[in-house]
């Protein structure tokens, strides 16, 4: 019971670092199509997955992201 309550309060925060041309466009399309999904992700747009310095992921984790999604 207590566990349930706790898990209700905590919402994971997820950083998504995504490519402008593919995933970001796909995310826009999900919006245009009104496909609903959880609110936990914060998208950071980069021009290409190739631009993503792996350290970004490490820094996101250090800064408290519960998860990091990289999508090209």
């Amino acid at each position: 019971m207590a566990e349930n309550l706790a898990s209700k309060e905590w919402e994971p925060k997820i950083v998504a670092i995504v490519c402008n041309w593919c995933t970001y466009a796909g995310a826009d399309l999900a919006g245009i199509s009104r496909i609903q999904y959880p609110t936990n992700v914060r998208i950071i747009r980069v021009p290409c997955t190739g631009r993503i310095n792996p350290f970004y992921i490490v820094k996101a984790l250090q800064d408290g992201a519960d998860g990091v999604l990289v999508s090209g």
Binding site: I57, V58, D63
Partner: protein
């Protein structure tokens, strides 16, 4: 190239004890709005299952 970087980073993070499900890599194309939503659902569920991050995290450090 990018995928090699992520493959190694993910593997390494997991190796040092940061759960593999906290770092997720995938591909979504511009026409895959539905896939994007599915990815987010999947990722959120995976991370939720792990609970709050407590490794490498500065505020707990």
């Amino acid at each position: 190239m990018a995928r090699r970087k992520f493959a190694t980073l993910k593997s390494f993070l997991n190796y040092i004890g940061v759960e593999g499900d906290r770092t997720i890599f995938t591909w979504v194309s511009a026409s895959e709005g539905d896939r994007f939503a599915q990815v987010i659902k999947g990722v959120t569920a995976k991370v939720r299952a792990l609970g709050p991050a407590n490794k490498l995290v500065k505020k707990f450090g």
